[in-house]
């Protein structure tokens, strides 16, 4: 049984952008509700609850539900130790944050009616928005 871990320092403020970032990573089926229970890979109900949940059948055979709990600061990930270690080669949260960040840049560009230029320098993505 894999323990669930909460990442309070990793907050996703905007629900719409979080859903878009999850879709980018292939998680398009997201259940939304109030205090939804999270289930482990054997179908065992866990004490943790979340407002956005990717059910384990959409994650992987040995995976647990992925949850995002709504807090006053934004949505906080609740992810099992197993999934944190294995999803996207252990880079699930970094990949989600990267995708979320790109959606933030898109949203800022649209709101400012700006033009974005994207370059990749080594590992680093640089986006310049002029408006």
């Amino acid at each position: 049984m894999s323990k669930y871990l909460t990442y309070p320092d990793m907050v996703f403020t905007d629900r719409r952008l979080l859903l878009a970032a999850l879709a980018d990573l292939g998680y398009r089926d997201v259940e939304e509700g109030e205090a939804l229970s999270l289930y482990g890979y054997q179908g065992d109900r866990r004490p943790e609850t979340a407002e956005l949940v990717v059910r384990r059948q959409f994650v992987g055979a040995a995976s647990n539900d992925l949850g995002f709990a709504r807090t006053p600061q934004g949505y906080v990930p609740i992810i099992s130790e197993y999934d944190h270690r294995t999803l996207h080669d252990g880079r699930f949260l970094a990949a989600l944050r990267t995708s979320y960040a790109e959606h933030v840049v898109d949203a800022v560009t649209q709101r400012l009616h700006g033009m974005a230029r994207r370059t990749v320098d080594g590992n680093v993505i640089k986006i310049t928005v002029r408006y």
Binding site: A94, R97, A101, V104, V108, I127, T128
Partner: protein
């Protein structure tokens, strides 16, 4: 032309934002917009450009000598 330079480090999913070409606290509006979408930043730094206040010049009036 004002611009915002976003730097994303995919290894950690870290985002940095640098506002260029807006002198003075006007860039606070941009920072506010980013904070709405990103939450409170871990670190916030005002550049020298921020401290410029365009179009506002101190006026020193001398009192007329009696």
């Amino acid at each position: 032309m004002p611009e915002i330079i976003f730097t994303i480090d995919p290894t950690a999913g870290k985002l940095e934002m640098h506002v260029v070409g807006i002198a003075g606290p006007a860039c606070e509006d941009i920072a506010k917009l980013a904070k709405q979408l990103l939450g409170a930043p871990a670190q916030e730094e005002q550049t020298a450009e921020y401290r410029l206040r365009p179009g506002i010049r101190p006026v020193i009036r001398r009192k007329a000598n009696p």
